[in-house]
Symmetry: none
Subunit: 206 residues, 4 copies
DNA sequence: TATGAATGAGGCTTCATTCAT
DNA sequence: GATGAATGAAGCCTCATTCAT
């Protein structure tokens, strides 16, 4: 765990350049999230990164690999976010509100269900396992927060896995737009409040 | 496994077979639901129908057309089902339970969000309108049932659109399988009961 | 050569309806002339005629047959027009002018060269013979007029076949439009006059 | 007959072969000239080049692009030839003769009219502009030679644009073959002489 | 580390043609 | 005489992937 030997003084400017592999992963993640696995081509990724397709293949052996890595990393990041937000020292409802709001503000709708479905046909079973694993861990982070709250007596005891999934499911309501592009509530704040209230009731609170 | 190749030309009108167009629409609907728009090819559809691709194109000018029609028809059917089940003369909670159960029993997970996302990238704006229109109407059917119940005093007054969307969103929880292919609850009945209870609380009932 | 027995009196209205076969031929001729053999589909023809493809096939065994017939009939008509115009009792130059003008007024550019080239790949050799035959006869009509004029002393003796082809070739100049859609001369009359003058000189007149 | 399939990936840079892009353009030009736009498939081009279709698409995004480029390059070459031949220091008639002969010797009949017609239906308006532009410039080269000759007093003053187009139009006469495959004159030399003489008269020379 | 050049496989779509009615 | 339903063959184009440099 020791840091590598590094020259003294201020690092050179070009050290700030993100390594190519990271650029690719970040760009890919965004593109896949925005448009889905099938629609995005390796060329799309390459072009957005300012490199060639061959370079992408230098870092990721297949498209499926790139996708898997992108999704897994993303779920890890979300899990970390859940941890961060939900371990704050505030009433659970407030923490849920914060998380919900953060989630709904992210422009891209993270439709995990959809991604898993698209992936099923194209990924190796090992890759699917990886994704599923990351997904499960993500939910577990939420579950844990609920379990804690149940033990604290903050909320009634109930099935925490159901609670975790229900929360994420309800968040998708926030992304709905009708035929005229109207969301259900005009502001994100209102949207978030309503969803969290609904969820809070659902948990059995009065 | 499939029918032998038919001879050229118009087939004899022997048996009272389902008209080819219907066969195509039904098969396409199932395939699209199971695997998504991008993954399914026109050839997949054709082969499953025992006809050639050209025949599929005889009835549907493009893949996007076929998809749109399939989705719209499906949403119309669901809407009808909602009507049928929700207009029965029973307590609302029972009716919700019935609908939820029917929905969760359908083998294919009807992930509307996912479909709309895939559609966005590949359909004409006119086709998107059609799909969105059908989707909205579907939700309206649910909303109406909620509105009635609020007026009856069966449930507290609240935002019916939110209620409708929340219900559908919660249903997706029933399709979740973890990395070991385990659903959250082992039986559909239990699953349905838990989801409807959660929802029922969410609506503000005590 | 006796006329068929026909009922006395005025024929019924519906006798005025052009027989379907003729409609097809006429429509096909126009479409092929306007857009070429390959581009026009049997469906295009059928739709413009208000019948189905199968009907077109009822009258013409193949697309190549329809095309051949259309082109041959057209060349026969042109040949007749040449006869009519060129056998009038006026100075040759006037007659040439008239024919040229009639030709240039027809909106469609009858680019026989182009048609023969397109046809070569797609027609049977017998069909090609038919077309070539009709084309040759068409030119012969012009040649004959030139031969007559040479014998009359109206124009110097020269190679009549060259004369006939040169005339038709020069007419194509009238259809030229530059990148800004400008023809070489602004009015058809001026165009015709200039071309015929040029031709007239070419024949060796002073 | 053709090269064996190449292995995947970048080929060894062995011999000083013509760059693939040039090979494709040259082959395509010849094929399009010989048989027309619609008849030639991208596969035809690829096979004649000993590469796969995908390779052709690597260099040209669409068939229309390939065609446009082929035609434009060809017209640029012709224009250069016009320049070269017509700027020699000889009497105009001799120069015209030379150009005509060179043109008629080229085995393929360059039927510009036909190509422009085929193009109209299939090319984007931008591509059409490109082709038209190249065509116009080609004619302008001829016009300029005529203008010079008029100013020299070598030929009478007349409309140079008409002169340029007439010349090219008359050249097509040289490619005519009748139903028995007979050209109008048996030898190219005689053909050329007759056409140029006709043209020379047409210009108003005595 | 990065890329340019190439391929194979496959997807969408069109179209001439056929045939029972 | 006319048509609706179907097919087979082919054409355009895309894309994940490979490999020598």
């Amino acid at each position: 765990m020791q840091r590598e030997h590094r020259p003294l003084g201020r690092p050179r400017q070009d050290l700030k350049e993100k390594p190519t592999k990271n650029v690719i992963l970040d760009v890919a993640t965004r593109l896949f999230l925005e448009q889905g696995y099938q629609v995005i081509t390796m060329d799309d990724v390459a072009k957005k990164c300012g490199v060639t397709k061959a370079t992408v293949y230098y870092y990721y052996k297949t498209k499926a690999d790139l996708f898997t890595d992108a999704m897994v990393q993303m779920m890890i990041r979300i899990r970390r976010r859940i941890f961060d937000i939900l371990s704050a020292d505030k009433p659970l409802k407030e923490r849920l509100f914060e998380f919900a709001k953060a989630h709904l503000q992210a422009t891209v709708d993270i439709d995990l269900n959809g991604f898993m479905k698209e992936a099923t046909t194209s990924l190796s079973s090992e890759q699917l396992q990886q994704m599923k694993g990351a997904e499960d861990k993500m939910y577990e982070a939420l579950e844990q927060a609920l379990i804690n709250a149940m033990e604290n007596g903050e909320i009634p005891k109930s099935h925490p896995q159901l609670g975790a999934h229900s929360f994420v499911a309800l968040l998708t309501v926030g992304n709905y737009k009708d035929a005229d592009q109207q969301p259900i509530f005009p502001s994100i704040d209102e949207m978030t409040k309503q969803i969290v209230d609904f969820y809070w009731n659902g948990l059995g609170n009065e």
